[in-house]
């Protein structure tokens, strides 16, 4: 004992234990993590998921867009010469002489009989520049005069396999291989040996040259020289994903603070013991920070492994949908590295706060397991209130969507952080509420107030989840409720609109397919439309007439009228069951859009070339305050005739009407096969069809976000309530000993969950509304006026209800803490 250690290193005499002390403390933290990692499972899981999702997200975001400069290969210049050049061979020879090494690719369009074209392509597979644009899938490259290798889409178009004989333009080719362009998998082409294209439509020459030498060379007429664009897409998708990941990590950090606070509370006596043994404050902090670091590192490693495995598994699917080959290892390593470091830093930073709090507790108090007394409420409330106010001001003066995105970000972050700082204050308010409640509820609320550090962090996390949900909800609802800029599903699933050539409202006049070069007569088009209707087995066809007129709201730019305006022909009125007598005399427009008739400052814009007028052209004719009548009989889809101009207005304004399309309706929802057949038929005459879009509508988005936010908030709630209640296991034992049964236990857990859920829902919703009001302060009426009642009820009533009921149900079983008090 006193004799066992006489010597003491001189270096340690003045210091505070140095490296050996830190090592001992970290060793203990590591042992504790090994013993108690299950209690930190949720933080571990959240961090791991965040890292995995970030890796997958950046990988997809980076690899989904097509290659930046397809067609260049490795060359820095691309020269295309039309096949009509009379001195083609001489020109190529001249270019070769001037620039040395060149790679010549000859293309010839060939007819396929379908909307998709195909090309005969002569290229040297081992050419100096074009190699990245060609790879062999099966068989071999063509070498001889009559050999060809097909891309998979060409092979399927012509229904050919290796070894088959292919007759094209009077020549017979033997299929010797399957090839692809890794940069564009969907290209339909037939590769032949160089020089085998008899009449190229276009010749592409790849070469390396300096800017000056290109400028001084005289290229043949009609030639087009290109250099690769060097600017990557802006903003870099990896940065966007990383920014979102950072926001997510902030949220996870809040949950982690709650988790680590509970962990610190659990170890309070041990940490006090460490202090009594002579550990410095720094060493005590190090225990918790090391624990945070271990959690962060483990979660990050697990997340990275899961993310990479998921990515490797997903690459083949992504290649198919993106249409180009993907190098699975071509990842934004810097972004992934940053995300991993950020995850670890999040865990460490989250552990620092409880670490500092614990180190401040006097050793005597820590030894007896008493947490530090919560700080005075008014001191905590002020910074939060100031931040919310400042954030709201920044948002209000940020200038809307046209303003600075930096201001938006700063304002949003300030408001959010400020609101979350208010969480402990709200918790303190619970004490007042609970004073007259029954004992079990009072006990639950008092525990929340007493352990404000962790319940505050828990509340902040729940509020944050609700905040995100509410923001999406409010904005989506406001967007959905805009009568001018209608959003929603475009068409019901049993409707199809057949647009004649040049009349697709989405893409405008559209270059026709190969067969559409010759203008089809209206009769031919109508015949094709009849064929489509016949193939769908329906006679329910409504011809839609278009007029060069539309609605607009004066003085606004944001809320322009969207959608096509058709003519209320007698046939249309009959189709929707509107009697001419129902239309008030003098009415200009009929609409199914709710609220459109009440919009102020409406105008009719009209003119013969309303839609073809360029930006500098003359202004359209205007009629102010048209008379609009609402008919719910009209279809509501955005591509449906939801707003129609009356014959009366047409006559008054002396407008012509022209064929706009046909609305075809079937008894049952259209199948994918029917839609494909119809599309094929439409393509034949250069027409287009529109059916229900598979993209989620804003309403669906709102419902999903509400559900997802609720689930997220519930998950956080379950975790934090579990944590908080598991901490009071010994108190529960005392309660049980005094005769409290499972009902008391259930009530306590239920009240804890319910109180946290209600506060979280209220706080999150309040911040969301503050943010929205500040942001849209100019157009309050149309934005915040439309309250997403359903979502609000779901969140403010549903969440606490589910939380309470869940707490009540799951608290029935005795927690193992009670059965076996763990040794500390």
């Amino acid at each position: 004992m006193s004799t066992s250690l006489r010597e003491r290193p001189a270096t340690a005499s003045a210091g505070n234990g140095g490296v050996p002390a830190r090592r001992a403390v970290i060793r203990w933290a590591w042992r504790l993590f090994r013993r108690e990692w299950r209690q930190q499972l949720l933080v571990l899981a959240l961090l791991a998921v965040a890292v995995a999702v970030t890796i997958l997200g950046t990988a997809i975001a980076i690899n989904t867009p097509p290659p930046l400069n397809p067609g260049f290969g490795t060359a820095n210049h691309l020269l295309s010469i039309p096949g009509t050049d009379p001195h083609l061979a001489a020109d190529i020879a001249a270019i070769k002489q001037r620039f040395g090494t060149i790679d010549v690719i000859e293309n010839q369009s060939i007819a396929t009989g379908t909307v998709n074209g195909a090309e005969l392509q002569a290229q040297d597979p081992s050419g100096p520049y074009g190699r990245p644009m060609l790879s062999l899938v099966a068989g071999r490259y063509p070498t001889g005069r009559s050999e060809v290798a097909l891309s998979s889409s060409a092979a399927s178009t012509f229904n050919l396999r290796i070894g088959d004989l292919w007759h094209q333009d009077g020549r017979a080719w033997r299929i010797v291989g399957l090839v692809e362009n890794p940069q564009s998998l969907l290209d339909a082409f037939a590769l032949v040996a160089p020089g085998q294209v008899s009449a190229p439509t276009q010749v592409t020459i790849l070469f390396d040259a300096t800017h000056a030498s290109v400028a001084s060379f005289h290229f043949p007429s009609g030639a087009n020289i290109e250099i690769p664009s060097s600017s990557p897409p802006n903003p870099n998708p990896a940065i966007v994903v990383l920014a979102i990941a950072t926001l997510g990590l902030i949220f996870i950090g809040l949950v982690a603070v709650a988790g680590f606070t509970v962990m610190a509370q659990r170890r309070l006596r041990a940490l006090g013991m460490l202090g009594a043994l002579g550990a410095t404050d720094r060493n005590i902090r190090l225990v918790l920070v090391a624990n945070g670091a271990v959690v962060g590192i483990f979660a990050t490693l697990i997340g990275a492994a899961v993310g990479f495995l998921a990515w490797i598994g997903y690459v083949p699917h992504l290649e198919t949908s993106a249409g180009h080959r993907i190098d699975a290892l071509k990842l934004p390593w810097w972004a992934i590295g940053t995300a991993m470091v950020l995850a670890i830093v999040t865990a460490i930073v989250a552990a620092r706060r409880p670490a500092h709090a614990v180190a401040r507790i006097p050793v005597v108090a820590a030894l007896s397991g008493r947490p530090a007394a919560p700080k005075a409420v008014h001191r905590r409330a002020l910074p939060g209130l100031i931040l919310v106010a400042v954030g709201a001001c920044i948002l209000a003066f940020a200038g809307g969507w046209a303003g600075s995105p930096l201001m938006l970000l700063v304002g949003l972050v300030a408001t959010t952080v400020g609101g979350l700082l208010l969480a402990p204050v709200c918790i303190a308010g619970l004490a007042v509420v609970g004073q007259h409640a029954p004992i079990a509820v009072r006990l639950a609320l008092r525990d929340l107030v007493r352990y404000r550090a962790r319940s505050g962090a828990a509340l902040a996390a729940i509020s944050f989840a609700i905040l995100l949900t509410m923001l999406i909800c409010i904005i989506a609802t406001a967007r959905y409720a805009n009568a001018l800029d209608l959003t929603g599903i475009n068409l019901p699933s049993n409707q199809l609109v057949f647009y004649p050539p040049g009349n697709n409202p989405d893409s405008g006049p559209r270059p026709g397919g190969p067969g559409a070069d010759a203008q089809k007569t209206p009769a031919e088009i109508q015949a094709r439309e009849n064929a489509v209707a016949a193939s769908l087995g329906t006679h329910d066809v409504l011809a839609l007439d278009a007029a060069d007129a539309t609605l607009s709201q004066a003085g606004t730019r944001a809320n322009n009228f969207s959608g096509a305006v058709y003519v209320a022909t007698p046939a249309l009125l009959r189709h929707f069951g509107i009697k001419p007598s129902q239309i008030d005399p003098g009415t200009d427009f009929l609409t199914s859009r709710v609220g459109l008739a009440a919009e102020p400052r409406m105008q009719i814009l009209y003119g013969n070339d309303l839609f073809d007028r360029g930006p500098g052209g003359p202004s359209p004719s205007v009629v102010d305050n048209p008379k609009i009548q609402t008919f719910s009989n009209l279809d509501a889809g955005t591509s449906d005739p939801n707003t129609v101009i009356t014959m009366h207005a047409l006559r008054t304004l002396k407008l012509q009407s022209s064929l706009g399309g046909w609305l075809i309706q079937t008894a049952r929802p259209l199948t994918a096969l029917q839609i494909n057949d119809a599309r094929q038929m439409a393509v034949g005459v250069g027409a287009t069809i529109e059916t229900k879009s598979s993209q989620p509508s804003l309403a669906q988005l709102r419902d999903w976000s509400t559900a997802a936010g609720l689930l997220l908030a519930l998950g956080v709630l379950a975790m934090t309530v579990g944590l908080i209640r598991s901490e009071t296991g010994s108190e529960l034992r005392t309660l049980t000993a005094t005769g409290a049964g499972s009902t008391t236990r259930r009530t306590i857990t239920g009240a804890t969950a319910g109180a946290l859920a209600l506060l979280g829902a209220l706080l999150g919703t309040a911040i969301a509304y503050i943010v929205t009001i500040a942001w849209y302060r100019s157009s309050l009426g149309s934005t915040v006026g439309h309250v997403p009642v359903q979502a609000l009820v779901a969140i403010i009533v549903g969440l606490p209800l589910i939380g309470t009921i869940g707490g009540w149900l799951f608290a029935g079983r005795e927690p193992p803490v009670i059965a076996r008090q763990p040794l500390e």
């Binding site: 006193s2 066992s4 050996p20 002390a21 202090g275 043994l277």
Partner: protein
């Protein structure tokens, strides 16, 4: 040599009318090699006396000297260093850190003081061996019995060159045989030159001490005279036999 000296130590918790006077002007000195017991009813301030003597709390008034050095001017870190090197604690029921073996627990104060893990472990093993606990060295606290835990705690409290051993009801939850074993270890430690202070309300524990100080309402009410030696008990009628 006086290892621990309290001079007019007072401690007041809280302020105003709700203030609690835990200690009022305590004077106490403990020589090296002496074991002093502090007895008193609950609330007499005996635990506070121990935490103040061990630098875990600061006195409201008065001075504490450990090994001749006053604690009043020490920084938090200096106090921590003092605890690592000079003061050993044994608490009633909670002493060992879960997750560390008995040997690691004993070696912990040395490691915290900057001594390499291997060397500290060897010193810890030596301390355990001296207390007859060598076979428990690689056990974790939850694999030890209550008495063994307290004995390991004493080994940790005296490892290194500790001069002051402070114990708060060290056999609180133990049966009398285990309690005796704990007190026997404390006596052994004191015989090697450590100054010991045991706070207890149990006269049987206190009777192991060289001197018993009685605390009452935060004041030293009384203390025992130096013991006359065991012969006096047996003297009257055993003269010839012995």
């Amino acid at each position: 040599m006086t290892t621990l000296e309290l001079r007019g130590v007072s401690k007041v918790y809280g302020e105003g009318p709700t203030a609690v006077h835990a200690l009022r002007g305590i004077d106490l000195s403990v020589q090296a090699g002496a074991l002093v017991a502090v007895m008193g009813p609950s609330g007499s301030g005996k635990s506070t006396l121990l935490t103040i003597a061990g630098s875990l709390e600061d006195p409201t008034d008065g001075e504490v000297l450990v090994g001749g050095t006053t604690l009043s001017n020490m920084s938090r870190n200096a106090k921590a260093r003092l605890r690592r090197r000079s003061i050993g604690y044994v608490f009633q029921d909670y002493n060992l850190l879960a997750g560390l073996t008995a040997a690691e627990n004993v070696a912990l104060p040395l490691e915290l003081d900057g001594i390499g893990a291997r060397k500290a472990r060897a010193a810890g093993m030596a301390a355990l061996e001296e207390l007859g606990l060598a076979d428990r060295a690689s056990r974790f606290p939850d694999e030890l019995s209550g008495g063994e835990r307290q004995r390991v705690a004493i080994a940790r409290a005296v490892v290194g060159e500790r001069r002051l051993l402070l114990a708060d009801e060290p056999s609180g939850a133990l049966d009398s045989a285990n309690g005796d074993a704990v007190m026997r270890l404390m006596r052994t430690a004191c015989q090697r030159g450590v100054a010991g202070v045991v706070v207890t309300h149990d006269a049987q524990l206190a009777s192991w001490a060289d001197r018993v100080v009685f605390l009452r309402d935060g004041r030293v009410a009384d203390q025992t005279a130096p013991p006359p030696g065991p012969e006096s008990l047996l003297a009257p009628s055993t003269g010839q036999g012995q």
